[in-house]
Amino acid sequence: MRKNLLIFFLALAFVTPFSTMASVISVIGTLQEVRTGDTFMVDVVLDAEGREVNAIQGELMFPPNLFSVKAFYERDSIMGVWVERPRVVEAGKLFWSGIMPGGFSGILGPYQVDATPGRLFTIQFQTLQEGEGVLALQSGTVLLHDGVGTKDAVTNGSMTVMVSDEAPYHAEVRISDRNPPEAFIPEIVRDADTEDGKWMLVWNAHDKETGISYFTVFESPRVRKAISEDEWESATSPYVLRDQARRSYVYLRAVDGAGNERVVGILPERGSYGWRDALIGFAILIVLACTPLLWQRKYRSRAD
C-alpha cells in the first residue's frame, strides 16, 4: 500500500506541470455581464513576477461584432515611454508597445507588503449586440532589464464578457479628471542620420488620471496669446519643424482623455521675423523690381 502511494505521488509530481516563472499580462474587468448599448472598462495589467523587465508589447483580440473601442485611458500607466500608444490596428485587434526605463518589477506602496502588478492602460468598450465575447491577449512580448533585451516567458490572459438585454443595469463608469497633463519639457534636436538632419521637436508627457489623448503643434513667427482650434496640427514625437530656420515660436499642446490641456511654448533660436525683416524684404523687392527698368534705360541710351 505504502509502495503504491509512493508511486502515485511520484507519478503526480511528473504529471503535474511545475510552475513556470513567467511575466503575466492580464486583462481585468469588474463587469462580466453588460447590457446591449452600455459600456464597460477593462485594464491591461503586467505582473513581472518579481523579475526586472523593461519593454513590453502585445495584442488584444476582441469580437468586433460585439464590442467597439470607445476610448483608451493611459491613466496611472507604468509605461515610461510609449513606442506605440494603444490603438486599433485592424478589426478586432489592438496593439501597443513601450518601455519602462530603469526597469519594472512591481509597484511599491505604503499599504501593501509586496510589490503589486502595474496597469499598462485601460480600454472602454461599447457593446453592440448580444452575445458572449472573449477578450484575449496574444503575442505578448516582455523583455528583461538586462541590457541585451532577453525575452521573458509570458503568460497571456483573457476574460469573457456576456452581452445581454437581461444583464443587470450598471451606471457608466466615468473617470474624474479636472487636472491638466503633468508639466513636461519638449526639446528641439537634430540627428545627421534622421530626416536629413532636420530640426525636430521631441517630447514625452504623462497624465495620471485619464492619460494623454493626443498632441498638437503650432508654429508662429510671432508670440501668440491664443491659438484657434483649426490652427493646431496633430503631431507625434518626433515632429519635423516646418520652420527649419528656427525663427518661429513653437507651441506644443498635450490633451488628456477628459479634454484638459497643457500648452508649452518654445522660443525661436534666432530672432523671430519682425519689422526689420519686413523692411529688408521690401527693399530687396524694390531693387529686384527696378533692375529690369535700369537695364532698359541703359540699353536705350547706348542705342541712342
Partner: protein
Amino acid sequence: MTLSGRAYPGRAVTLLKDAAVVSSAAAGSDGSFSLSVSGLSSGNYIFSLYSEDKNGNRSSLHTFPVSITAGATTNVSGIFIAPTIAVDKEEVKRGDTITIFGQSAPAADILITVGSEEEIVVKTKADTGGAYLYYFDTSELDYGSHSAKSKATLLNQLLSSYSRAAGFTVGTKNVLAKTGEASAKGDINADRRVNLVDFSVMAYWYRRVAPPTHVDLNTDRKIDLIDFSILAYYWTG
C-alpha cells in the same frame, strides 16, 4: 515625497520621475543623501536614481515604481546606489592580474563577481572616500570573454543591487582599456546622456529599412522592441 539613502560621497545624485530628470542633490561626506519631490498628484510614478563617480562612470539606475496618495507624505529610505565598476584592461594576458575598481559609499563591503559561465566571487572594502580596488588573478579564468560586476553592503543593513558589468577578454596579451569620454551604449546623439532625444531618433527608425548602425543597438539591421529595451537599460534621463 522624500527619498534618502547612501551614494558616493560628495557626488551628485540624480532623480528621475517617469524617465525625466526632476531633481539632483550632492551626497554628504559619508555618502548620505536626501531628495524631495513635491506637488505630486495621486497615481503611480516610476522613480529612478543614479550617481556618477569622479571618473565619469555612472551607476546603474535604481528604479522603483511607487504609488502616491495625494495629501500624504511618502518617504522612501534605505536606498543604496549600486557601485560603479571599471577594469584597467580590455584584454589581459592569462595569468596576469586585471585591476577592478570603482566607487561606492565610504567603508562599504564590496562583493565582486567575475567570470562568464562559472563565476568567481571575491571581496574587498571601500576606503574612507568610497573608492575600492582589487587586483584579480586571471589564471583561473578560461580564454575568452568575461565580465565583472559588484555590489555593496554597508553596516550589515544596506544592500545595493549589482553594478553594470565591465567586460574584458582573457587572451595572450595585455591591452589597456581606453580612457576618455567614450559614448555609452544607447547614447545615439553622443551627448553622454541616454534619454528622450536618443529614444526619438530610434523611434524615427522604428520599422524603417536600413537604420544607421549607431541606432541599431543589437546590430540586427532593424529597430524593434529589443533595441528599445537596450536603450531603456542604459537610460540616464
